[in-house]
Protein backbone atom coordinates (compact mmCIF):
# COMPACT_ATOMS: atom_id res chain seq x y z
CA UNK A 1 0.00 0.00 0.00
CA UNK A 2 1.43 3.40 -0.92
CA UNK A 3 1.15 4.64 2.62
CA UNK A 4 3.09 7.89 2.35
CA UNK A 5 1.38 8.92 -0.84
CA UNK A 6 -2.02 8.30 0.75
CA UNK A 7 -1.07 10.54 3.68
CA UNK A 8 0.25 13.26 1.37
CA UNK A 9 -2.73 13.26 -0.93
CA UNK A 10 -5.20 13.23 1.95
CA UNK A 11 -3.41 16.28 3.39
CA UNK A 12 -3.64 17.98 -0.01
CA UNK A 13 -7.31 17.03 -0.28
CA UNK A 14 -7.94 18.45 3.19
CA UNK A 15 -6.26 21.72 2.25
CA UNK A 16 -8.36 21.95 -0.89
CA UNK A 17 -11.54 21.18 1.04
CA UNK A 18 -10.69 23.81 3.64
CA UNK A 19 -10.20 26.32 0.85
CA UNK A 20 -13.48 25.41 -0.84
CA UNK A 21 -15.39 25.79 2.42
CA UNK A 22 -13.66 28.97 3.60
CA UNK A 23 -12.89 31.01 0.50
CA UNK A 24 -15.28 33.68 -0.67
CA UNK A 25 -13.42 34.62 -3.83
CA UNK A 26 -14.78 32.46 -6.62
CA UNK A 27 -11.58 32.12 -8.63
CA UNK A 28 -9.75 30.91 -5.53
CA UNK A 29 -12.54 28.38 -5.04
CA UNK A 30 -11.88 27.02 -8.53
CA UNK A 31 -8.18 26.81 -7.66
CA UNK A 32 -8.96 24.80 -4.54
CA UNK A 33 -11.03 22.40 -6.63
CA UNK A 34 -7.94 21.96 -8.80
CA UNK A 35 -5.89 21.09 -5.71
CA UNK A 36 -8.44 18.43 -4.73
CA UNK A 37 -8.40 16.94 -8.24
CA UNK A 38 -4.62 16.77 -8.14
CA UNK A 39 -4.69 14.99 -4.78
CA UNK A 40 -6.94 12.33 -6.32
CA UNK A 41 -4.63 12.05 -9.33
CA UNK A 42 -1.71 11.48 -6.98
CA UNK A 43 -3.52 8.54 -5.34
CA UNK A 44 -4.29 7.05 -8.75
CA UNK A 45 -0.66 7.23 -9.85
CA UNK A 46 0.57 5.82 -6.53
CA UNK A 47 -1.71 2.80 -6.85
CA UNK A 48 -0.71 2.42 -10.50
CA UNK A 49 2.90 2.21 -9.38
CA UNK A 50 2.04 -0.19 -6.56
CA UNK A 51 0.03 -2.67 -8.59
CA UNK A 52 1.87 -2.10 -11.87
CA UNK A 53 -1.15 -1.10 -13.90
CA UNK A 54 -0.82 1.47 -16.68
CA UNK A 55 -4.62 1.61 -16.95
CA UNK A 56 -4.77 3.63 -13.74
CA UNK A 57 -2.40 6.15 -15.28
CA UNK A 58 -4.76 6.42 -18.24
CA UNK A 59 -7.54 7.13 -15.77
CA UNK A 60 -5.48 10.06 -14.50
CA UNK A 61 -5.12 11.19 -18.11
CA UNK A 62 -8.90 11.22 -18.53
CA UNK A 63 -9.32 13.05 -15.21
CA UNK A 64 -6.95 15.73 -16.49
CA UNK A 65 -9.00 16.06 -19.68
CA UNK A 66 -12.25 16.47 -17.79
CA UNK A 67 -10.61 18.92 -15.37
CA UNK A 68 -9.38 21.08 -18.26
CA UNK A 69 -12.88 21.19 -19.77
CA UNK A 70 -14.34 21.95 -16.33
CA UNK A 71 -11.96 24.87 -15.79
CA UNK A 72 -12.84 26.35 -19.16
CA UNK A 73 -16.59 26.18 -18.48
CA UNK A 74 -16.15 27.42 -14.92
CA UNK A 75 -14.13 30.46 -15.94
CA UNK A 76 -16.70 31.35 -18.62
CA UNK A 77 -19.39 31.20 -15.93
CA UNK A 78 -17.20 33.38 -13.69
CA UNK A 79 -16.97 35.99 -16.44
CA UNK A 80 -20.75 36.02 -16.80
CA UNK A 81 -21.18 36.32 -13.02
CA UNK A 82 -18.78 39.26 -12.98
CA UNK A 83 -20.70 40.94 -15.79
CA UNK A 84 -23.96 40.48 -13.92
CA UNK A 85 -22.91 41.33 -10.36
CA UNK A 86 -19.77 43.43 -10.78
CA UNK A 87 -17.94 41.42 -8.16
CA UNK A 88 -16.33 38.06 -7.55
CA UNK A 89 -17.37 37.75 -3.91
CA UNK A 90 -19.64 34.80 -3.16
CA UNK A 91 -21.49 36.79 -0.48
CA UNK A 92 -22.41 39.41 -3.08
CA UNK A 93 -23.94 36.71 -5.28
CA UNK A 94 -25.89 35.41 -2.31
CA UNK A 95 -27.16 38.86 -1.33
CA UNK A 96 -28.18 39.87 -4.84
CA UNK A 97 -29.99 36.61 -5.57
CA UNK A 98 -32.45 37.18 -2.74
Amino acid sequence: MPYHYLILSSILFGIGLLGVLLQRHIIKLLMCIEIMLNAVNLIFVAYAATYDSPEAQLMVFFIMMVAAAEVVIGLAIVVQLYRRHGSLDMDVFKESSR
Binding site: L18, A49, A68, I73, Q80
Partner: protein, 165 residues
Amino acid sequence: MDIAFYVLSSISIVSALAVILVRNQIYAVLWLILCFLSIAGHFFLMNASFLGIVQIIVYAGAVMVLFLFMIMLINFNQDPASPKKWGALILGGLLSVMLFALIMIPLLKAPKDSPNSRLLQSQGNATTLGKILFQDFMIPFEASALIFLSATMGVVLISQNRGKK
Protein backbone atom coordinates in the same frame (compact mmCIF):
# COMPACT_ATOMS: atom_id res chain seq x y z
CA MET B 1 14.60 8.49 -3.39
CA ASP B 2 13.08 8.97 0.05
CA ILE B 3 14.67 12.39 0.38
CA ALA B 4 13.23 13.40 -2.98
CA PHE B 5 9.78 12.26 -1.78
CA TYR B 6 9.98 14.27 1.43
CA VAL B 7 11.29 17.40 -0.27
CA LEU B 8 8.63 17.27 -2.98
CA SER B 9 5.82 16.62 -0.53
CA SER B 10 6.86 19.47 1.75
CA ILE B 11 6.97 21.78 -1.26
CA SER B 12 3.52 20.68 -2.39
CA ILE B 13 1.93 20.99 1.06
CA VAL B 14 3.46 24.41 1.75
CA SER B 15 2.47 25.75 -1.67
CA ALA B 16 -1.07 24.37 -1.37
CA LEU B 17 -1.38 26.09 2.01
CA ALA B 18 -0.04 29.28 0.49
CA VAL B 19 -2.72 29.14 -2.21
CA ILE B 20 -5.51 29.44 0.34
CA LEU B 21 -3.68 31.84 2.67
CA VAL B 22 -2.18 34.40 0.29
CA ARG B 23 -4.47 37.37 -0.33
CA ASN B 24 -3.09 38.44 -3.69
CA GLN B 25 -4.77 36.40 -6.43
CA ILE B 26 -1.80 36.50 -8.79
CA TYR B 27 0.48 35.15 -6.06
CA ALA B 28 -2.07 32.41 -5.34
CA VAL B 29 -1.93 31.31 -8.98
CA LEU B 30 1.87 31.29 -8.90
CA TRP B 31 1.86 29.16 -5.72
CA LEU B 32 -0.61 26.82 -7.40
CA ILE B 33 1.79 26.45 -10.34
CA LEU B 34 4.51 25.48 -7.84
CA CYS B 35 2.16 22.93 -6.27
CA PHE B 36 1.40 21.39 -9.67
CA LEU B 37 5.08 21.27 -10.56
CA SER B 38 5.87 19.42 -7.35
CA ILE B 39 3.05 16.94 -8.07
CA ALA B 40 4.57 16.47 -11.52
CA GLY B 41 7.82 15.71 -9.70
CA HIS B 42 5.99 13.04 -7.72
CA PHE B 43 4.76 11.56 -10.99
CA PHE B 44 8.30 11.44 -12.34
CA LEU B 45 9.39 9.82 -9.09
CA MET B 46 6.80 7.07 -9.59
CA ASN B 47 7.98 6.45 -13.17
CA ALA B 48 4.88 7.98 -14.70
CA SER B 49 6.87 10.17 -17.04
CA PHE B 50 4.09 10.73 -19.58
CA LEU B 51 1.70 11.91 -16.88
CA GLY B 52 4.37 14.18 -15.44
CA ILE B 53 4.87 15.84 -18.79
CA VAL B 54 1.11 16.15 -19.32
CA GLN B 55 0.78 17.61 -15.84
CA ILE B 56 3.39 20.26 -16.60
CA ILE B 57 2.01 21.11 -20.04
CA VAL B 58 -1.73 20.97 -19.34
CA TYR B 59 -2.02 22.01 -15.70
CA ALA B 60 0.98 24.22 -15.00
CA GLY B 61 0.90 25.54 -18.55
CA ALA B 62 -2.53 25.85 -20.09
CA VAL B 63 -4.93 25.83 -17.16
CA MET B 64 -2.91 28.21 -15.02
CA VAL B 65 -2.39 30.60 -17.92
CA LEU B 66 -6.18 30.57 -18.28
CA PHE B 67 -6.54 31.46 -14.60
CA LEU B 68 -3.97 34.24 -14.89
CA PHE B 69 -5.70 35.71 -17.93
CA MET B 70 -9.03 35.61 -16.14
CA ILE B 71 -7.71 37.37 -13.04
CA MET B 72 -5.95 40.03 -15.09
CA LEU B 73 -8.99 40.53 -17.33
CA ILE B 74 -11.82 40.93 -14.91
CA ASN B 75 -10.58 42.21 -11.63
CA PHE B 76 -7.02 42.76 -10.85
CA ASN B 77 -6.43 41.82 -7.26
CA GLN B 78 -9.65 42.88 -5.66
CA ASP B 79 -10.29 41.55 -2.19
CA PRO B 80 -13.81 40.71 -1.04
CA ALA B 81 -15.17 43.85 0.51
CA SER B 82 -17.92 42.31 2.64
CA PRO B 83 -17.11 41.66 6.30
CA LYS B 84 -16.04 38.23 7.46
CA LYS B 85 -18.70 35.93 8.81
CA TRP B 86 -17.08 34.13 11.72
CA GLY B 87 -19.89 31.60 12.11
CA ALA B 88 -19.50 30.36 8.56
CA LEU B 89 -15.72 30.32 8.91
CA ILE B 90 -15.82 28.25 12.10
CA LEU B 91 -18.44 25.88 10.67
CA GLY B 92 -16.46 25.37 7.47
CA GLY B 93 -13.24 24.80 9.36
CA LEU B 94 -14.88 22.30 11.69
CA LEU B 95 -16.47 20.42 8.78
CA SER B 96 -13.23 20.16 6.83
CA VAL B 97 -11.22 19.14 9.90
CA MET B 98 -13.78 16.44 10.67
CA LEU B 99 -13.69 15.06 7.14
CA PHE B 100 -9.89 15.21 7.16
CA ALA B 101 -9.84 13.24 10.45
CA LEU B 102 -12.26 10.74 8.92
CA ILE B 103 -9.78 10.15 6.11
CA MET B 104 -6.69 10.14 8.30
CA ILE B 105 -7.77 7.87 11.19
CA PRO B 106 -7.95 4.63 9.14
CA LEU B 107 -4.74 5.60 7.39
CA LEU B 108 -2.83 5.93 10.64
CA LYS B 109 -3.71 2.34 11.51
CA ALA B 110 -2.37 1.01 8.21
CA PRO B 111 1.02 -0.72 8.04
CA LYS B 112 3.84 1.68 7.40
CA ASP B 113 6.75 1.25 5.07
CA SER B 114 9.28 3.35 3.23
CA PRO B 115 7.86 5.76 0.64
CA ASN B 116 9.17 4.01 -2.41
CA SER B 117 9.89 0.52 -1.15
CA ARG B 118 6.82 -1.24 -2.49
CA LEU B 119 6.57 0.71 -5.71
CA LEU B 120 7.09 -1.45 -8.75
CA GLN B 121 8.86 0.31 -11.52
CA SER B 122 5.89 0.23 -13.82
CA GLN B 123 6.29 1.61 -17.27
CA GLY B 124 4.42 4.86 -17.65
CA ASN B 125 6.07 6.18 -20.76
CA ALA B 126 4.21 7.41 -23.80
CA THR B 127 4.68 4.19 -25.79
CA THR B 128 3.05 1.92 -23.22
CA LEU B 129 0.24 4.30 -22.44
CA GLY B 130 -0.40 5.06 -26.10
CA LYS B 131 -0.72 1.37 -26.98
CA ILE B 132 -3.31 0.87 -24.26
CA LEU B 133 -5.05 4.15 -24.99
CA PHE B 134 -5.57 3.50 -28.67
CA GLN B 135 -6.49 -0.17 -28.31
CA ASP B 136 -8.49 -0.73 -25.14
CA PHE B 137 -9.58 2.80 -24.34
CA MET B 138 -10.54 3.96 -27.82
CA ILE B 139 -14.18 4.76 -27.01
CA PRO B 140 -13.42 6.79 -23.84
CA PHE B 141 -10.81 8.68 -25.83
CA GLU B 142 -13.38 9.63 -28.48
CA ALA B 143 -15.83 10.49 -25.71
CA SER B 144 -13.29 12.88 -24.22
CA ALA B 145 -12.93 14.48 -27.64
CA LEU B 146 -16.71 14.99 -27.54
CA ILE B 147 -16.36 16.49 -24.06
CA PHE B 148 -13.88 19.02 -25.39
CA LEU B 149 -16.10 19.84 -28.35
CA SER B 150 -19.09 20.41 -26.09
CA ALA B 151 -16.94 22.47 -23.70
CA THR B 152 -15.85 24.70 -26.57
CA MET B 153 -19.42 25.18 -27.79
CA GLY B 154 -20.60 25.76 -24.22
CA VAL B 155 -18.00 28.45 -23.61
CA VAL B 156 -18.96 30.23 -26.81
CA LEU B 157 -22.64 30.03 -25.87
CA ILE B 158 -22.08 31.15 -22.28
CA SER B 159 -19.77 34.03 -22.98
CA GLN B 160 -21.83 35.79 -25.63
CA ASN B 161 -24.34 38.09 -24.01
CA ARG B 162 -27.43 38.27 -26.11
CA GLY B 163 -29.87 41.09 -25.65
CA LYS B 164 -29.22 41.80 -22.02
CA LYS B 165 -26.62 44.43 -21.27
